[in-house]
Symmetry: D3
Subunit: 142 residues, 6 copies
């Protein structure tokens, strides 16, 4: 059985502010620049979730894309979509919502969902803040 990676892309729109309450206002402004704007700004985030696994002959699919789509659209992304990431998202409480940190939080929520599917494991998450900036995370063991 060949091993293949499948990826599902999705989007969510959210506001965020980069700010560390342990730093002074001046330090925050120097560190985060315009991303430190007190009322926040926002992005159309794009997430690509990659699952790796063998392809069983009877189905021809690493994992049913409908299941992967359901996990993202119904279980994970409603927490983030049309929200202010600093105020509205319990799983980001106390975490500075940089793309790096959001990607790790998304990994930690998506990984247990994927593990329920035999032979599949979460391989990579790519999170784009804009066409010019994105981050990738492959889990803590990479």
């Amino acid at each position: 059985m060949p091993t293949v990676e499948i990826t599902r892309r999705a989007e969510f729109c959210a506001a965020h502010r980069l700010h560390n309450p342990e730093f002074s206002d001046e330090e925050n402004h120097k560190l985060y620049g315009p991303c430190n704007n007190p009322n926040g700004h926002g992005h159309n985030y794009e997430i690509e979730v990659t699952v790796r696994g063998e392809v069983p002959v009877p189905t021809g699919m690493v994992m049913n894309l409908n299941d992967l789509c359901w996990i993202l659209e119904e279980k994970i992304l409603p927490q983030f979509d049309h929200k202010h990431l600093n105020h509205d998202v319990p799983s980001l409480k106390g975490i500075i919502p940089t793309a790096e940190n959001i990607a790790v939080v998304l990994w930690n929520q998506i990984e247990p969902e994927i593990e329920r599917f035999e032979g599949c494991r979460l391989h990579k998450i790519r999170l784009s803040e804009s066409r010019n900036n994105f981050v990738e995370y492959e889990g803590s063991s990479s």
Copy 2:
């Protein structure tokens, strides 16, 4: 001299909330759905500014793109970029920041800048909130 339209595209990242204070919370929620989230959400907005004019032989340009770029990047967009449109933008004060309204406000600010260039007039503004939603405005006389 042929008449040609030139377009410059630019981006800005902002947060916004759709909310009319004259409606009840229930009415606002019904009207705007998740866009009514109290803390706001956000977008990577794309703006396309189209200028129409004749092409003089000596320059071969309707208008110098460096000038158009400067108007957008230095004069207009810093008011909107990395801001919360409901709280941080004086020209949007008292205006519900729908894409339609933002496009009209942008037109009203950009049009007088273009009129300083002989033979040029602002022809169209396209404002995209996401890959799936955009608005176009051609001024009040269209």
Copy 3:
């Protein structure tokens, strides 16, 4: 009240075959080339639906995008999505499913839905078969 155009983009995946039963096989092959393949081929179609109207101050919206989205995703596109356009779509019965003809059929179905919204009228439909080919239709009176 300014007049603005709003556009909603959506996608559907479908198979089709270009074939006129009144022509000989040779004529069909000459006219449509590989698009005449008997078992069909397919596309990720993109549709952009543009609605034109004034922007009332209380809502700031030409038309509620949620309504436009619902019309497309719930009422119109399920007839076409994941279908073979020659065999599965009643409204295309007897019509060669070129992009031009599909756009006109879509217009005829979408226009009465838009007319129910006061002050709005369907302005344009753009239908893309691929990144390289698209058609635009503005109705029979254009």
Copy 4:
């Protein structure tokens, strides 16, 4: 018979330099900035050619896309593709290769090709130098 616009997109890669030999070096540098670099620079140009016409029932096509594709890829674009527009293109001789001027030259070459097809006329040319800059031309009578 409905009237529809069909568009074909294509690309060509070329070098160019913006320079008017009647101006001094200083004036050229001030006018064109980095685009005046003596050895030139380059772009992946994108052209969209839009043809407008009625849709005859027997074919369902304004114009055969294979014909439009052949005109662009075989007849027009080989003059421009993988060339230096200031040195290698006879139809641009003596013309400053701004996007505006290239679009007009392309129109003048493509229009007579389209007129051979009954019921069709060239409606618009869009020429993009980059994702951020494009021009549109609808002919001298627009």
Copy 5:
């Protein structure tokens, strides 16, 4: 000599149906959902073929892109382009045409073509069914 990966992207349009004849109609419908539609549906598939190798100083190229382009456009993709993958493609006979399976079939056909070029080996194939779904395969030894 540095080792570099070069990638060529290409497209093909095809219809397909996901269906395992060993399952009941009900099981197929449950497994594949709308992708099980009897007459099929279709996509604009995108393929990215990545070749890895050292860069010889005399040419500066891992492999001549013209050769890679020729392999794809002349030898491989005509089997798939403008076809119904369930009926028209001998190399997919008896194989459920999921993106995973098509990618493996493409790998098996492209790999021997690349091996003829000294110092080059096929590194990865990415196959996209749509902007939202793609698979990647790096061969049986990965």
Copy 6:
């Protein structure tokens, strides 16, 4: 601390010609085809620079994107942007400006800039000549 990769995308417009002076004109033409055009042609190059590192809790960032952006836009890309790569770029002197070679030259210039940032290392450079062609380089130890 999780290890994450961050990527910054940027663009530059340049002309180039593929030509090895040690080969005959005939050999050059056979090897490089239209890319051997004596006056050159050009591209909108896209570069993606990927930096890998741990994410410190106080900042939530592998590396400040403003720093990465500054390195690219102020220090590296002005050498290449709006230039003819064969004539205007000292670091490409004597090097055939294929995408492979440009990527290696960019790596060699960007890597020491990244190494100044504690805990960060340059992970990958992707350089696209067009939507259809790109190369990736991960350094000499990959």
